[in-house]
């Protein structure tokens, strides 16, 4: 968990880049992130649509998604859902696919993700058939797109709920 010491390190790291606000280019300084096939998408997840910079508070709020979920939490309906709930984590992952944030993963968006993850390793036809099969398996209401609820039910995603709780920082 990111305790006081962890926060200190996070501050230190953001000081390495700039004072005040971060821009997408600042993330480019992180070598391992540049190597990650979906690195660009993760970076854009930190920036609200239309905004070109992110301030420290928002940065930490996004990182808070990755804090381990407390298993015993009383739901009284009054408290706003914490950033690190399972739903929020799944939502974060969902938005990596759904770049235009319209609440659905379209076929084209799925293809784009597949392209960045595999690029030159498979042919275009193979990409198309992978995307086709994934949509067919997941799309329950037959609208040719995957909504968030359908996403949660996809084989592997629902099993992963336990794994998500292990995202510890």
């Amino acid at each position: 968990a990111v305790g006081p010491k962890g926060i200190f390190r996070v501050i230190e790291r953001s000081e390495q880049w700039s004072v005040g606000e971060l821009e997408p280019e600042d993330f480019g300084a992180i070598r391992e992130l540049s190597m990650n096939p979906i690195g660009d998408r993760i970076i854009s997840a930190f920036f609200s649509p239309g905004k070109e910079t992110v301030d420290f508070a928002s940065f930490v709020r996004i990182l808070a998604h990755f804090h381990p979920t407390e298993t015993s939490r009383s739901r009284d309906g009054v408290q706003p859902e914490p950033a690190n709930s399972r739903t929020r984590k799944l939502k974060f992952a969902f938005q990596l696919y759904d770049q235009d944030r319209d609440g659905k993963i379209s076929r084209e968006e799925l293809l784009q993700v597949l392209r960045t993850m595999l690029e030159m390793q498979v042919t275009e036809e193979q990409l198309q058939s992978i995307a086709e099969r994934a949509i067919q398996e997941a799309d329950l209401d037959q609208d040719d797109a995957i909504s968030f609820d359908e996403f949660r039910k996809v084989r592997g995603v629902d099993l992963i709920r336990d794994q998500i709780d292990n995202w510890e920082y």
């Binding site: 390190r9 070598r31 990650n36 690195g39 993700v113 993850m117 595999l118 592997g156 992963i160 995202w167």
Partner: protein, 454 residues
């Protein structure tokens, strides 16, 4: 001559004269002559022990002070801030994620949940990545009374502040002028001395012999001086201008060194030929090379450039590890220039390092240059207690090449298709990527050396 009539002045001049004479004499007797003759008075060990006791006391004071205020001292972990389990490969993690053993298929099988793996790796690297942290100074557990290495510095107790103040006085008032004088004397004698305290060589029978190449990990420009202290080497490097250039030309007069013109670095065959010629001549001294190509912060050993390992001769690995408790010797050349760096060096308590001479290695049958380089690197890392990394030191300045991203994609696609022999694949990919990098390497090297020279 009128200004001599004032009696106070006269006294002052005399005092000054006496103290300077005394200073220089002490310097000569206690430092320069023993250094030249190789005799030690044992003053250094006493000094080190005293310093360590003081540091331990200072840290315990800080901890007490922090407890009073119910705060935690900022103590750096060596593991970073992420709770990582043992590092596993992309294949292993994805198999775990999927929960079942995959059987080989002809049709690639994609899971929407696969993205979680990349997502987690990505955010982990935002918080703390293996590469970037090698290029900033290592953090210490205990405070060594240098403000520059302390994150907790606030007024804890009067005694501690007084001690710190005293330390400043000693370091800037005594140690710094001492070393500056030494430096000036030294340069004019063509031997640059800084305060090298505690030189502990081991396994002396493994010292490099003629007709070989000596390779070592690189942390500071002082590495060269340390090794040169213990044996004569021929250096390899780019021709510089200014003070460095003058020293280079002077060094050539006494023994053969290999200095390249900037334009020649790009011609790898020419470089290799000159090295081979030098090595083939058994009367010439061993060559000293730092295959990382840049300074690393002494917690790890980064990728060795394979150029020096292509030449057919014996390689003598040397491991150098600095003790960070007394002063941080790492030169962060993107943050400090050379003068700033020297100033910090000379006002530290001491530079303490351990040097290990390892048994000589030769390239084996069926081993190519890169594998040989990695074997030597592993030996050096094991001896020095450093982390052995595959990353290129050139990442200090350059952006990540696309080849690395491609490698991740290749690994992932192999998972989809269900390949079983992953181990060999990843090795092949490393080699392929390094081959791709090859043609760009001379450029990188010349870029790095040009910035280092300034």
């Amino acid at each position: 001559m009128t200004w001599f009539t004032f009696p106070g002045d006269n006294l002052l001049c005399r005092c000054l004269g006496i103290s300077i004479t005394a200073w220089l004499t002490l310097l000569f007797v206690f430092i320069i002559v023993p250094a030249v003759l190789g005799v030690s008075f044992g003053i250094r060990r006493l000094y080190m022990r005293t310093l360590l006791k003081i540091f331990a006391w200072a840290t315990s004071r800080m901890e007490m002070g922090a407890k009073e205020k119910n705060q935690q001292l900022h103590k750096p972990y060596s593991n970073g801030i992420i709770a990582k389990e043992s590092p596993s490969s992309l294949q292993q993690e994805l198999q775990e994620l999927r929960g079942s053993a995959s059987c080989p298929r002809s049709e690639p099988e994609f899971e929407m949940a696969d993205i979680f793996y990349f997502c987690r790796r990505g955010v982990e690297s935002i918080l703390d990545d293996e590469v970037t942290k090698r290029f900033s100074a290592q953090e210490l557990e205990s405070w060594n009374l240098l403000t520059r290495s302390n994150y907790n510095f606030r007024h804890i107790s009067l005694r501690l502040t007084v001690l710190w103040g005293l330390g400043v006085l000693i370091r800037y008032g005594i140690l710094l002028p001492l070393r500056v004088t030494l430096a000036i004397t030294g340069i004019s004698l063509l031997v640059v001395l800084t305060t090298l305290v505690g030189f502990l060589p081991n396994r002396e029978e493994n010292k490099p012999k003629n007709g070989g190449i000596c390779v070592s990990n690189h942390t500071t420009p002082i590495d060269v001086i340390i090794l040169a202290n213990d044996g004569c080497y021929s250096m390899v490097g780019q021709v510089h201008g200014g003070l460095m250039g003058m020293m280079q030309r002077a060094m050539v007069k006494s023994s053969p060194h290999i200095w390249f013109e900037r334009s020649e670095v790009k011609d790898r065959h020419l470089v290799a030929k000159r090295l081979s010629d030098h090595v083939a001549d058994k009367t010439k001294q061993p060559i000293l090379i730092f295959p990382e190509g840049t300074c690393i912060n002494n917690t790890s050993v980064m990728m060795f450039k394979k150029g020096s390992f292509e030449i057919a001769c014996t390689v003598y690995p040397v491991a150098i590890k600095y003790d960070p408790r007394f002063g941080d010797a790492f030169w962060n050349s993107s943050k400090f220039g050379l003068v700033n760096y020297l100033l910090r060096m000379m006002s530290s308590w001491a530079i303490v390092c351990s040097v290990w001479y390892l048994p000589p290695m030769n390239r084996e049958e069926g081993e190519d240059a890169m594998q040989f380089a990695n074997r030597v690197k592993a030996a050096i890392a094991a001896q020095g207690g450093l982390v052995d990394l595959i990353w290129d030191g050139g990442l200090k300045r350059a952006k990540v090449k696309d080849a690395f991203k491609e490698e991740q994609q290749k690994l992932y696609s192999k998972v989809l298709v269900g390949e079983q022999d992953e181990g060999e694949q990843s090795d092949d990919m490393h080699l392929e990527d390094e081959n791709q990098e090859e043609d760009e390497n001379p450029e990188d090297e010349s870029n790095q050396d040009s910035t280092k020279g300034q």
